[in-house]
C-alpha cells in the first residue's frame, strides 16, 4: 500500500474546498469535514493493520514509499510510517476534524480559503511526520508555516498582524538554522563516505568529529526548540495563540508544537546521539525551567487565551525532559504527553474560543460565575483543568508520571523540581476555574450553554483523554517499537566512535538496509 494518500488526500480536499468556496460557504465545510474524517478513518484502519502486524511479530515499519526526486543530490521522495509517526498522524487528523467543526459557525470570511489552509496544515504536518528524507522534511516543515501565517493573519483577532509576523520571523529564522545544519550534515556525510544523500536512514550514524556534531546538533535543536517551544525561545507562542482563530490555536498547540518534539526525537537524538547526550543536562535544565516558568507566567496573565498558551509551554517542558532523559519510561511518557496535551490544549483553546464567541472578550477579570449560566461548559472546563493539572486517571498523568519516573533514574534534583511544576499546575488550573466559572456572575452574563456540535467535540476529547488515562497500553505498544528502534540507531551510531575511523564508513550503509523488514527489537 502506498502512503502517498496520506498527503494527497488532504491536499486534494483542500483545493476542492477552496474552489467550492467560490460558490458556497457550506460546501468547503462539508468537503473538509469529509476529507478529514476519511483521512482519520483510513489512518485508524492503518492502525488496525499495524496492530495485526505486531501480533504476528511484524512490528517496526509499517509502509514505505520511495521515489527518486532529485537524484543528482541524493534527494528522494522517501516516506515511511512507523508507530510514532502513526500516532502523531492520528492526532493530526483527529484534531483537524475538530478544527473544522469548531470553525463551523465562527468563520464566515473567505470560508473556502480558510479550509484550504486547514487542510494544507494537515498535509504539511502529515508530511513532516512521515518524511524520511531530510530535504523533504525541511520542505514540509516550511510549508506548514504558510497556512498558519494566513490563518492568524487573516482570521485572527485585533493584534493579528504583529503576532503572525513575529511567529513567521522567529520560526523562519530557526528554520534557516535547521537548513544550514541539514546541509552541513549532508556535506559531512559526503566527505566521509563519498555518497551525497539526504536520506535519513543513511545519514543516521554519520561519523563526524565531536565539534561538528555539536554544532550541527545545536542547529537542529534550536529549530525544534523554537517550535516546542523551549524557554527562552517561546515568546512567539503566547502572541500567536492569543491572536489566532480557534482552529489556528488548535493546530498550533495540538500539532505544531508536536513537530518540535517529533524532530528532537527523530533527528537530534538519533543522528547526534553523543552530542545530544552531552547536551542532555542543559536540555533537561531548560525543560525544568520551562515547566516552572510557564506555570508561573500562566498565573500572571489577564488574557484567558494567553494563560492557556503559557500552560502549553509548561507542559511541553515535560516532553523535552522526557526526550532528553532518553530511557524507555521517559520516552513513552513524552509520547503520551504529546498526545494528551494535543487533546487538552485543543479542548481548552476551543473552550476559550466558545467563550469569546459568546462574550467577545478574553479578559479573565470580566468573567466569573459562569457555572451558573453555562454548567455544561463549566463541567468541560473543570475536566480539562483537571487534565491539565495531571489528575490520575486522565491522560497527562500517565505521561507525566512516566517521564518523571524515568527522569528520576537520571537526575533526581531536576525531577524533584519538575514535580514542583505539578503543584504550580494545580495553582493555575484552580485559579482559572475560580476566575471564570466560580464566584459571582459579576459580568451578569447570559450565555447559551454548549451546543450539540460543541458538546460532540468536547465529548470526543474527553473520551480520548479518559482512554489514554485509563488504558494507554495500545498507544504504548504502538510507539514502543519505534522508540526502541530510535534507541538502537543511537546506540549503533555511538558505538563506531570507539572503533578505528576506517570502519566507521560501514555504519550508515549497514543501517540503510534495516527497513522495512528489520529494525525490530531483537
Amino acid at each position: 500500500m502506498s502512503v502517498a494518500w496520506i498527503l494527497l488526500m488532504p491536499l486534494a480536499g483542500g483545493l476542492a474546498a477552496w474552489i467550492a468556496g467560490r460558490w458556497s460557504d457550506l460546501w468547503p465545510r462539508w468537503i473538509s469535514l469529509g476529507t478529514a474524517l476519511l483521512h482519520l478513518l483510513l489512518l485508524l484502519a492503518t492502525w488496525g493493520v499495524f496492530f495485526a502486524g505486531i501480533e504476528t511479530g511484524q512490528g517496526g515499519w509499517l509502509v514505505v514509499y520511495k521515489q527518486p526526486w532529485i537524484p543528482q543530490l541524493g534527494i528522494s521522495f522517501h516516506l515511511a510510517v512507523d508507530g510514532l509517526s502513526l500516532l502523531l498522524l492520528l492526532l493530526t487528523s483527529f484534531l483537524t476534524v475538530l478544527a473544522v467543526l469548531t470553525s463551523w459557525r465562527s468563520v464566515t470570511r473567505s470560508v473556502g480559503f480558510f479550509h484550504f489552509n486547514l487542510l494544507l496544515i494537515l498535509t504539511a504536518l502529515s508530511g513532516v511526520f512521515i518524511a524520511f528524507d531530510l530535504f523533504l522534511f525541511f520542505a514540509f516543515w516550511e510549508i506548514s508555516l504558510l497556512p498558519l501565517y494566513f490563518l492568524i493573519g487573516i482570521w485572527g483577532y485585533e493584534n493579528r498582524v504583529y503576532a503572525t509576523t513575529k511567529f513567521f520571523i522567529i520560526t523562519q529564522g530557526s528554520g534557516l538554522l535547521m537548513l544550514l545544519a541539514i546541509l552541513g550534515l549532508v556535506v559531512v556525510h559526503w566527505q566521509s563516505t563519498g555518497v551525497m544523500t539526504f536520506d535519513y536512514l543513511e545519514l543516521v550514524g554519520t561519523p563526524m568529529s565531536k565539534a561538528t556534531a555539536w554544532w550541527l546538533m545545536l542547529g537542529f535543536f534550536i529549530a525544534f526548540a523554537v517550535k516546542l517551544p523551549v524557554v527562552p525561545f517561546h515568546t512567539w507562542l503566547p502572541d500567536a495563540h492569543t491572536q489566532a482563530p480557534t482552529a489556528g490555536s488548535v493546530a498550533l498547540a495540538g500539532l505544531v508544537l508536536k513537530i518540535g518534539a517529533y524532530g528532537m526525537l527523530r533527528f537530534v537524538m538519533t543522528i547526534f546521539p553523543q552530542a545530544a547526550a552531552d547536551f542532555a543536562l542543559a536540555a533537561m535544565i531548560l525543560a525544568v525551567v520551562g515547566i516552572l516558568y510557564g506555570a508561573l507566567l500562566a498565573l500572571g496573565q489577564t488574557d484567558l487565551k494567553r494563560m492557556v498558551a503559557y500552560t502549553s509551554i509548561s507542559h511541553m517542558g515535560f516532553v523535552l525532559l522526557g526526550i532528553f532523559t532518553w530511557n524507555e519510561l521517559a520516552l513513552q511518557g513524552a509520547v503520551i504527553i504529546m498526545l494528551s496535551h494535543g487533546f487538552s490544549a485543543a479542548a481548552l483553546f476551543m473552550l476559550v474560543g466558545d467563550l469569546q464567541h459568546r462574550t467577545h472578550t478574553r479578559e479573565i477579570d470580566r468573567f466569573g460565575g459562569l457555572w451558573a449560566v453555562t454548567p455544561r461548559m463549566g463541567g468541560v472546563g473543570l475536566f480539562f483543568a483537571m487534565a491539565s493539572l495531571g489528575l490520575p486517571g486522565l491522560a497527562s498523568f500517565v505521561g507525566e508520571f512516566l517521564v518523571l519516573l524515568g527522569a528520576f533514574r537520571v537526575n533526581v534534583p531536576l525531577t524533584v523540581l519538575a514535580s514542583v511544576g505539578l503543584v504550580a499546575a494545580t495553582i493555575y488550573s484552580l485559579w482559572m476555574m475560580q476566575k471564570v466559572y466560580y464566584g459571582a456572575n459579576t459580568g451578569e452574563w447570559k450565555l447559551d450553554d454548549t451546543s450539540g456540535r460543541e458538546m460532540a467535540i468536547m465529548a470526543s476529547l474527553i473520551g480520548a483523554t479518559l482512554w489514554l488515562g485509563l488504558y494507554p497500553q495500545p498507544v504504548l505498544t504502538t510507539s514502543g517499537d519505534a522508540l526502541a528502534q530510535m534507541r538502537q540507531f543511537a546506540d549503533k551510531a555511538r558505538a563506531p566512535a570507539s572503533r578505528p575511523p576506517v570502519k566507521e564508513v560501514q555504519g550508515p550503509k549497514a543501517m540503510a538496509s534495516i527497513p522495512p523488514d528489520g529494525g525490530r527489537r531483537p
Binding site: 508561573l296 500572571g300 519510561l329 483537571m386 486517571g393 498523568f397 514535580s419 505539578l422 484552580l430 494507554p472
Partner: protein, 635 residues
Amino acid sequence: MLELLWLIPALPLLGFVVLMLAGSRLSHTEVAFVGCGSVGLSAAVTLIVGLSFMAAPPPGAAFTQTLWVWLDVDGFRPAFAFYLDALSLTMIFVVTFVGFLIHLYSVEYMMEEEGYSRFFAYMNLFVCAMLTLLLADNLMLLLLGWEGVGLCSYLLIGFFYRDEANGAAASKAFIVTRVGDTAMLMALFLLFAELGTLDIQDLLQRAGQQFQPGSGLAVVVALLLLGGAVGKSAQLPLQTWLPDAMAGPTPVSALIHAATMVTAGVYLIARTHALFMLAPQVLTLVAVIGTLTLLMAGFAALVQTDIKRVLAYSTISQIGYMFLALGVGAWSAALFHFMIHAFFKALLFLGAGAVIMCLHHEQDMYRMGGLRRLMPFTFWCFLIGSGALAAIPVVTAGFYSKDLIIWNAYNSDIGGVWLWAGALAGALLTSIYTFRMVFLTFFRDATEWVKKLLPIHQPGPCVHIPLGVLAVLSIAGGFIELPHTMGKLTLFSDFLNTALPEFHGAHASYGTEFLFELMAAAASIGGIYLVWVLVMGPARHMQRIVALPWAPPLERLWLSGWGFDRLYDVAFVQPYLWCARVNKSDFIDAFYRATAFVTEMLHFVVSLTQTGAVRWYATGIAVGAVATVGLVILL
C-alpha cells in the same frame, strides 16, 4: 463471593456517571435514589464480601482481584487491581456504611439547595475515590484514589461556588494536599528506582530484604510517604486546609472528616507499615507529629465560636491520636480509633448540621443555646457523640479506643512518658472543648436569636435515622475491644493482626494499666466538670480568666489556629503571586521586542537619507566617491 469486590468502588462510580450525564433531567427523588442507592448497594456488597472473607479467609488472609493492566513499560506494570485484607476490609466497611448514612442524611439536608444532582454526583465520586485508594493493590492506583479524593474535596468544599471564599477554601484544600502529594510522588519514584515495583505487597517484601533498618534510604522513603500522609490527614505542618474546609455543606464535612479523605494518611502509613518499621526514626517522628498536632489543635478548638470549626479542630486532634498510635507501633489501636472516630465524628457533624439547618444556617455557638429542650432527639445523639469524643469512661466507645492509644503511648517500646503526658493533656483538652460546645449549644437559656425562630422546624426521618444509628455505634462500637483490666476482649485487634503487626508492649502490670486508665478517666470527667463550672457556673470564673493579661493575645493566636495561615501567606503565597504579577509580560520577550525595536530604528535612520532631493543624492555620491578613492589611495 469475594469476586464481587470490584463492585464496591464501581457502584458509586456508576452512580456518579449516571448523575453526571442525566442528573439535570432527573427529579429530586430519582437523584436521591441513585445517589444514595449506589452507596447503599456498595455497602451491602461490602457486607457480603466481608462476611465471606471472615467466614472463609482466603490463603494468606488476603484476596487480590486484577481487572486490567494499566500500562506495561520496561518492567513497570501497574494494574487496576484490588487487594482485600483485614486492613482494607475494615476501612471500606467504615467508608461504605458511614458514607451511606451521610448520603441518606443529605437527601433531606440538601433538599432546598441548588445543584442537588451535582452534589450527589460529587459525593458518589468521593466515596468511589476513597474506596479505590483503600483497595488499591499498587501505589499508582492508590495515587489515583488519593488524588481523586483531593479532587472531590475540592469540588465539595467549593460546592456553593457563588461565594468566592468557598472557592478559596476549596482551592486551598487541593493545593495544600497536593504539596504533600508531591512528596509522596517522590517516594513512589524512589521506591520504583530502588525496588523496581510499585505493587504494595511486593514492595514491602523487597524492602524488607534490601533496605537496612534505619538506613538513609529507608528513612527518606518513609519521610516522603509521611509528607503525603500529613497533607491528606491534616497534620502538622500541612493542617491548615481542614478548618477552612467546612465551607462546604455540612454532610461534606462529615464525609471528609469521618469516612474519607483525612483518614487516608493513617491508612497509607498502616498500609506501608513495613517501610516505616525499617525507619524507626521516622516512626518516632510520626508519634511526635501526632502528639504535637493533637495538642495544637486541642488548644485551637478551645476558643472557636463556630460549631463546625470546633469539630474541624477536633478532627485534626483525633487524627493526631491515630498518628501517635501508628508511631508507637500500636497499629490496630490506630485503626480502632479510626473506626470509632468515624462513628462519632460523623454523628457530631450530622448533629451539628441538623442544628445549623434548623437555625437557618447559624453556626455561631454563642447565638445558640437552650436547644436541649427544643431538639431533644438531636440533643441526645449529639451528647452521645460528644461523650465518645471526650472519652467518657466505660459507657462510650471513644473511651476504649482513645484510652488504648494513651496507654500504648506509655506502654510501647517506642513510646514513653512524654508522649503519654501529651496524649493525656490532649484528652483533658478534648473533653473541655467538646463540652464547651455542648453546653453553649444545647444548655443555657435559649438566646433571643433562637427564640425568634420558634417554633423550631424538626428534622425528618432521613436526618434522624443516621443520627440514631451512629449514636448506637458510638456506644456499642467500643465493646468489641476491651482492655485487659475490663474483661479483655480482642475481636478487633485479632482480626487486624492478620494484616498488621501485633503490638508489643512492655507488658506492665495490670495495676499500672488500671492506674493509667483511672488517670485518663479523670482527665475526661475533670475536663467536663471544669467546663461546666466555667460555662454554666457563675460568670465571675470566666471573667477572671478573660481578665488575665495574656488571655486575649492567646485567644487570638488559638482562634487563628496558631497563625499558620498567616505564616504561609507571607512565606509562600504572596511571594509567588508577586513573582507572577511582576513578570506578567515576560521579561524574556523584552529581548525580542528590543531586537524588533532596534531594527525599526535602523530602518528609520537609514530611511532619513531617502529624501527624494537630487542634490542630496548628488552630494552623497560625490562624498562616497571621494571617500572611496581616498581610502584606496591611503591604504
